[in-house]
């Protein structure tokens, strides 16, 4: 930890502030360098204006905004509107949330999501429930609020991912095929066949989704399954090596060590009860 004193880090793993606010005529917020945490804003009623660089965008009910750390905060009621009612949350995400927070970007650090009218009310209710837990003053209230924020981001991720069905379907077919065939050799040609596309496209798809080459992706899944088997079964290393498609336990152990950083045996022993 670099900047904040230790005592500032709250207990558990959460860091969250949440509340509601109504902006009236002329009211706005301006922070040139933003804040060090993330900011989520949901419009409940009225119209707000979000500034970025040289431009700005008006947002109304059902439109949500997500600002990254360091992105300038330039938001307030839209000129001409009577009021802008929002729910907000400042927070530091759990690391595994980040992939669900990759909403469409309007400008660097400023993301925007339109919540369809069919789910708008339940999503607003969820936000209100989060704020109730956060400000309850009861032990565990903040932790519960953090869990609800996670639920919000998962549901938001579903909402924006529904916009890209074709892409998702191909990745899903590839992922399902890989998971089902970990025992066997898997080549790029197999993946092309499963996704119904070309080799070049496969490489791009997998790189965009997982940040890996096809070969590294397949091997990472073999290792993930091997780790799971090491954790939750008493299968021997050579049995597991066979389950995840390596020709010899020796070869498996060497690759495992290279990728995970410890040998399978050390991995299994790491937290023996």
């Amino acid at each position: 930890m670099t900047d904040r004193p230790d005592s500032y880090i709250p207990p558990y793993d959460y860091y969250l502030l949440a509340g509601s606010r109504v902006f009236y005529h002329g009211e706005s917020i301006w922070r040139k360098r933003g804040t060090r945490d993330w900011l989520l804003i949901a419009t409940i009623a009225g119209t707000g204006r979000i500034g970025y660089g040289l431009g700005s965008v008006d947002i109304g009910p059902g439109e949500w905004i997500l600002l990254s750390p360091g992105a300038a905060h330039d938001y307030g009621i839209s000129p001409g509107a009577e009021a802008w009612e929002i729910r907000w949350a400042h927070f530091i995400p759990r690391p595994y949330w980040l992939e669900w927070m990759a909403w469409p970007e309007i400008s660097p650090g400023l993301r925007h999501l339109r919540i369809g009218s069919d789910v708008c009310i339940p999503m607003n209710d969820l936000f209100d429930c989060l704020i109730r837990h956060f400000s309850s003053g009861l032990p565990g209230g903040e932790m519960h609020a953090m869990a609800m924020l996670e639920e919000i981001f998962l549901k938001c991720a579903q909402i924006w991912q529904e916009g890209q069905p074709e892409y998702d379907q191909q990745i899903e077919n590839i992922a399902a095929y890989v998971e089902a065939n970990l025992q066997s050799p898997i080549g790029v040609a197999d993946l092309c066949h499963v996704a119904g596309t070309t080799k070049g496209r496969i490489v791009t798809l997998i790189r965009e989704e997982f940040g890996l080459s096809p070969r590294a992706y397949v091997e990472s899944r073999r290792m993930a399954f091997a780790k799971h088997q090491l954790d939750h079964t008493s299968f021997s290393i050579s049995e597991i090596s066979e389950l995840v498609g390596y020709s010899t336990p020796f070869h498996f152990s060497r690759r495992f060590h290279e990728i995970v950083g410890v040998s399978p045996r050390q991995y299994r022993k790491r937290d023996e009860i």
Partner: protein
């Protein structure tokens, strides 16, 4: 109830996993001699059964720690025993939530009140529904489990702040609404209908800290939020958080955060 999940059904991306489902059984008999390597939580919806020698019925929650041998069966005269359950590995920050009263070592039990039962029924139902679907939805399932455990903490007599009774809730609301003013334990005792010493005792037992400490925690918390979120002067913020004397405020604030209010604000 299956012991080890199959490959395609696991959420294992982040070093934890979950395997959720439901059982409808009128002839149920299960032995798990060595126990499993994961945790098991079971919520009974209808009918009667038992875990080892612990009888369970509608609204009962059972939590079984890894490596605990147990057997389970439905009660002979019971109608169908319906339950929803999850095998899981906890996220690291859940560990505090997994200390329930033990019936026998590793076999833990909570009974629910009717309000909690409705909430839990909804959470368990959504957990199992989400689980039947694809990866992002399985994460939702994991999230439901987290909310279930947090909900259980509210009725767990071993958890700090469990069973906050109505009198204390009134006092907490009063503190929140009057944070800008002086608040004495005598005031809180009066609105809670208790004697000051009795109030202080019940409060400390429920929250693990004295009422005075709780009030100061809330004041500092509010001040931190205001310093962070607003441009108001430190004098105004001190007053808003109920500190009459700015110097005293700065001293207390430093005690909590290691920084003066203005140093703290400069962090952002």
């Amino acid at each position: 109830m299956p012991n080890l999940p199959k490959n395609e059904n696991i959420v294992s991306e982040y070093d934890y996993y979950l395997y959720a489902g439901h059982s409808d059984s009128d002839n149920f008999d299960l032995h798990s001699r060595g126990g499993t390597r994961d945790w098991l939580i079971v919520f009974t919806l209808e009918g009667y059964g038992r875990y080892a020698r612990l009888p369970v019925g509608p609204g009962d929650l059972v939590l079984i720690a890894p490596g605990t041998p147990y057997d389970s069966a439905d009660a002979p005269a019971s109608p169908v025993w319906r339950s929803k359950w999850a095998h899981f590995n906890p996220r690291p920050h859940w560990l505090d939530l997994l200390h329930w009263p033990e019936f026998t070592p590793g076999l833990m039990h909570l009974a629910t009140d009717s309000e909690t039962r409705d909430t839990l029924t909804s959470l368990f139902t959504r957990m199992v529904d989400y689980w039947d679907d694809r990866i992002p939805r399985k994460m939702l399932s994991m999230n439901m489990l987290e909310q279930i455990l947090l909900q259980c903490a509210g009725i767990n007599p071993l958890a700090v702040g469990s069973r906050i009774d109505l009198r204390l809730r009134t006092a907490i609301d009063y503190i929140r609404q009057n944070i800008a003013y002086e608040i004495s334990v005598a005031d809180l005792a009066r609105i809670s209908g208790l004697s000051p010493s009795r109030f202080a005792h019940i409060f400390s037992a429920a929250f693990g800290i004295s009422p005075q400490k709780y009030i100061e925690d809330r004041r500092i918390e509010l001040a931190r939020q205001r310093l962070f979120l607003s441009r108001r002067s430190i004098r105004e913020i001190a007053a808003e958080a109920g500190f009459k004397d700015q110097l005293y405020f700065s001293r207390r604030f430093r005690k909590y955060t290691g920084l003066s209010p203005s140093e703290f604000r400069d962090q952002f």
